[in-house]
Symmetry: C2
Subunit: 186 residues, 2 copies
DNA sequence: CCAGCCATGTAACCGGTTACATGATTGT
DNA sequence: ACAATCATGTAACCGGTTACATGGCTGG
């Protein structure tokens, strides 16, 4: 149930509308978790029913009406509880799912050009993602300095560092894989 | 739809029962994709309805009756088609989902000991997974030599190499993160 | 005697995806 | 003129998880 807890974490920084939350989620957590706008609204509803949030409808004339969500004490408790789940649950949280690697596993069924194309496309995507993370990194450093909370900033940095390490490793692998296939003529 | 295609790929090596497929899936593809036994049976049903498979019930007296699945030409076509999807879909296949990283992102809300415990537990799990992949690697090398298909064996190796690179990078990151937090006293 | 393997599934539920609907304001 | 931004959702569907049901044979 990570989407709910991701949203709780963001709302813990301050009250927001569903629209703003959706954008905040996509701007910060989308590297580790993806959610469609329609799902965000549905989850907010469910969270309010559980008493983790309250919402207030605000009428506007110039713009569409909006609904501002605020985390409750019960929601803060739930967040704290989720953040301190024991180590046992970490194995679950670590799990990798990659359709790409299933394709690699079965790529022996395709021809040489096809498998090399696939790997080259993967390498290019990794390069692209790596570049956009570099931008995110500098943006986060500046933001961290503004906010002034060194502890929070340190963890934001760490999560970005993870992403960089991940893409660097993926890139190295892709380049090595391409070289191996080219050299062996497979 | 990776589970369906993973199962197709395995059935393409030879006909099997649902039970055997489930075990084969868990033995080979479970690093990149996880599926419960009950889901495997459900997917096999759906795949048969689509005409990708046929099944034959085999009565046994000493053991429970079984049902052997065989890939059809239409299923082989579908597999080939999936394996040659264009680069556009690779971005989708690359996507990372990690509840653990959401926890890291919000770990600034918890205390020092809690966040260090979390990172140490993560590091330990990585070490464990890394060790079991080393075993899988040697097993795959031996199996590859027996099968004799160098091309297939090369891709099995590559997918395991990916896993090793992934866990090595995760481990390095975790150790670095622990050092940073300890040094800065955060 | 009990654990574990063999072998099949069903039912309910939850979470994620796709497609659709509305409609005013602001900037190029 | 056209796209983007603001702002809300609904409905149907698909994929993954949890819990449950059955039952004989084999090895420690």
């Amino acid at each position: 149930m990570s989407l709910k807890h991701g949203l709780l974490g963001l709302l813990n920084y301050g009250s927001m509308t569903g629209y703003e939350l959706d954008k905040a989620f996509k701007a910060s957590l989308s590297f580790f978790w993806q959610a469609k706008t329609s799902q965000v609204y549905r989850e907010l509803d469910a969270m309010e029913r559980r008493g983790w949030l309250t919402s207030e409808r605000i009428m506007q004339t110039e713009k569409p009406n909006k609904r501002v969500y605020t985390i409750t004490d019960s929601g803060k408790e739930e967040l704290a509880c989720w953040l301190s789940l024991p180590e046992a649950d970490i194995a679950d949280a670590m799990r990798v799912k990659s359709a790409f690697l299933i394709r690699v596993f079965f790529a022996g069924e395709t021809n040489i050009e096809q498998s090399l194309d696939m790997l080259r496309a993967y390498r290019d995507k990794c390069l692209e993602s790596r570049k956009s993370l570099r931008a995110a990194h500098t943006a986060s450093e500046e933001y961290g300095a503004v906010v002034g909370d060194k502890r929070k900033a340190a963890f934001w940095e760490l999560s970005i560092l993870y992403g960089e390490a991940f893409y660097d490793a993926s890139l190295d692998w892709a380049e090595k894989a391409i070289t191996i296939l080219e050299d062996r003529g497979l």
